[in-house]
């Protein structure tokens, strides 16, 4: 029973990170109808920027700031320099270009930092605090929850309460009409990519200390899990991404806790297949078929 409780809290903490990462995928999907397969690699790149800054200054927080700013810039750069020029009529083209980005980013990181694991710093202790003799949550888990909650609230406010958020939504739903109303649609798209990339960077910063650490491929499995979470939520719905993230986090925590961590990738595949085949619209979408 204790183990179950522990795994549940652990799963929620993992799930919070997956939710953030899935949310980043949803942001770009809503803005541009693209699943950004490069998001994992881009997030790792931001985490390496944090690593460099933290090593140089000794401050985790400056590193985190570097990751967020780096994520923003990288997202904007990718949209401006690459994605903008892709032929959007072919659904293959966007995926393939994103995969090309994966190779480029991972290769660049491998050249600069090498292909070995590096420890990722955590700002708080990861030892679980005990409540009534049962280990529940670590200070780090609390930090993760707080950070993800802050991001969720921030994004919700941005999109529903500000002019920029209104512009971003309008630009995504009706680009031509938005231009006629004075909205800089290209700029909103860049902003969407930048925001999503920064959220992805934050998720990487939160998840890496709980895994093996920094590595150019460190987010590969996280990406697949977060993609699954986004699909569970319907790919179109931010609340769906959050619920999807938490559920996938829980399932993976139980699988890894009871069956062994090496089963996790197969569990993700099975989960993804089940969701796509049984409930192709995701649990939160009204759409029936999955025609992208």
């Amino acid at each position: 029973m204790d183990r179950f409780v522990f795994l549940t809290f652990d799963g929620l903490s993992k799930g919070a990170v997956l939710a953030a990462f899935a949310l980043a995928l949803v942001l770009i999907w809503r803005a541009a109808r693209i699943v950004n397969f490069a998001q994992g690699a881009m997030a790792v790149a931001a985490a390496y920027a944090a690593y460099t800054v933290t090593t140089a200054t000794g401050s985790y927080w400056l590193g985190l700031l570097a990751a967020l700013v780096g994520g923003l810039l990288l997202g904007a750069l990718v949209e401006r320099a690459v994605m903008r020029f892709v032929d959007h009529r072919s659904p293959l083209a966007e995926v393939i270009v994103a995969l090309g980005l994966v190779l480029v980013v991972q290769a660049a990181l491998g050249m600069v930092y090498g292909n070995e694991f590096r420890a990722a710093a955590a700002p708080f202790s990861r030892t679980a605090l005990e409540v009534g003799g049962v280990p529940l949550l670590s200070r780090y888990d609390l930090f993760v929850f707080g950070a993800v909650l802050l991001v969720l609230l921030g994004l919700a406010l941005l999109f529903t309460r500000t002019g920029v958020g209104l512009r971003m939504r309008a630009a995504a739903f009706a680009p031509e009409v938005s231009r006629l109303l004075g909205v800089n649609v290209g700029g909103m798209l860049t902003l969407g990519w930048a925001l999503a990339s920064a959220v992805g960077a934050l998720a990487a910063m939160l998840v890496l200390p709980t895994e093996l650490g920094l590595h150019p491929h460190a987010m590969d499995l996280v990406f697949v899990s977060a993609f699954t979470a986004a699909v569970v939520g319907g790919l179109d719905s931010p609340p769906g991404a959050v619920v999807g993230g938490l559920s996938v986090g829980l399932i993976l925590s139980y699988v890894s806790g009871y069956l062994g961590s090496d089963v996790t990738p197969m569990a993700v595949l099975a989960l993804l297949l089940v969701v796509l085949l049984v409930r192709p619209g995701g649990l939160f979408a009204a759409t029936v078929a999955r025609q992208a």
Binding site: G100, P265, L276
Partner: protein, 348 residues
């Protein structure tokens, strides 16, 4: 109509025999290292040709072909080793193992294809990506069978004695792999030219129209996945034979991405593109090795980093540029150049 079809078939057969003869002569001239590279190109060609049929012809994206190659490779390894343990040896054994590898991979392709037929675009890409991540991990879960990260050795018969005592092993390997690749190309070329190819193109170009004209779209897509998996299985099996070992590290996500890159850069429209892709897969790392050993002789660690990552960087950049600037790939470029030359020549 029948006459035309048999004419195409004959033409393909003649081309294959001609290519086979030319490659035979080439293998006699090449040194062992180059022969090994030739064999590797041939092994990759099986997989890239299969992927070209899938992605280029039926418009389905697979990021999991590296994993399918792993299925073929592990099957061949297990077959070869089990047969050798039971003292079943001889030169008839390897074709049997390769066939088993192809069949098992086709079965795996069928399962993925069933799911794939119901999915489109990014969803399909996501599922196949999950396959690419999950399959190498499966070797750890079932470590008694697959021996985890270490992988398995593969028992392969030496070249037959009738070829002489000093016959280079690499040339023998090249022959095996080339035979497999030529057979794959011949079969796929005929398949693509025939009814199957037309059906797939119809599905790719307009699914609704294809459905309205009586094509069972899902069936065609599953068939495409199975055919494509056969190529990947043979390619993986041949790689296992060439390396005489298999390990999950050789079939990582990066391999899957490399295969996709190779067919995109080669040109998705035609099987000839798959040849360019397979050549690139072998030539690029080789080139990177030469460049990096020339550049950073001072620090071996830096040279190693550069060498390991340079092909990825070049591949990624090329891929992005190709996708944005010339979606036809190398083959499309050649096509345009020859077309241009043909138009220019008569006027002179």
């Amino acid at each position: 109509m029948n006459l035309l079809r048999s004419a195409t078939l004959l033409r393909h057969l003649a081309l294959t025999l001609l290519a086979g003869f030319a490659l035979y002569l080439l293998s006699l001239e090449l040194d062992p290292f180059r022969n090994f590279q030739l064999a590797t190109v041939a092994a990759y060609l099986c997989a890239t040709a299969g992927l070209t049929v899938l992605t280029g012809l039926s418009g389905q994206l697979s990021l999991g072909h590296g994993a399918l190659m792993a299925v073929g490779a592990y099957t061949v390894a297990l077959c070869q080793n089990t047969l050798a343990e039971h003292d079943v040896t001889g030169n008839g054994v390897l074709p049997l193992s390769l066939l088993a590898g192809v069949l098992v991979t086709m079965a795996a392709g069928f399962v993925i294809g069933l799911a794939a037929a119901r999915l489109r675009g990014p969803y399909l890409a996501g599922v196949t990506l999950a396959v690419a991540v999950a399959v190498p991990a499966a070797t750890v879960t079932f470590d008694e069978l697959f021996n985890s990260e270490q992988g398995l050795g593969v028992y392969v018969e030496p070249p037959p004695l009738s070829l002489g005592p000093y016959f280079p092993n690499e040339r023998w390997q090249a022959w095996i792999a080339l035979l497999g690749a030529l057979l794959t190309m011949l079969l796929l070329a005929n398949l693509v030219r025939g009814r199957f190819g037309r059906t797939l193109r119809a599905v790719r170009d307009d699914e609704v129209a294809a459905r309205l004209s009586g094509i069972d779209v899902a069936r065609a897509q599953v068939q495409a996945f199975v055919v494509s998996a056969a190529g990947a299985g043979l390619g993986g099996g041949l790689l296992a034979v060439l390396a005489q070992s298999v390990s999950p590290g050789a079939f990582s996500l990066t391999l899957s991405l490399f295969l996709l890159m190779a067919v995109v850069i080669g040109g998705l429209g035609s099987l000839s593109g798959a040849v360019w892709g397979a050549l690139l897969l072998v030539a690029l790392p080789d080139l990177a090795h030469q460049v990096s050993s020339g550049l950073v002789a001072s620090s071996p660690a830096a040279a190693q980093r550069l060498e390991g990552n340079l092909p990825l960087l070049v591949f990624g950049l090329t891929l992005i540029v190709v996708m944005i600037a010339m979606p036809g790939g190398v083959q499309g470029l050649l096509h345009r150049v020859t077309g241009w030359a043909r138009r220019r020549l008569p006027s002179r």
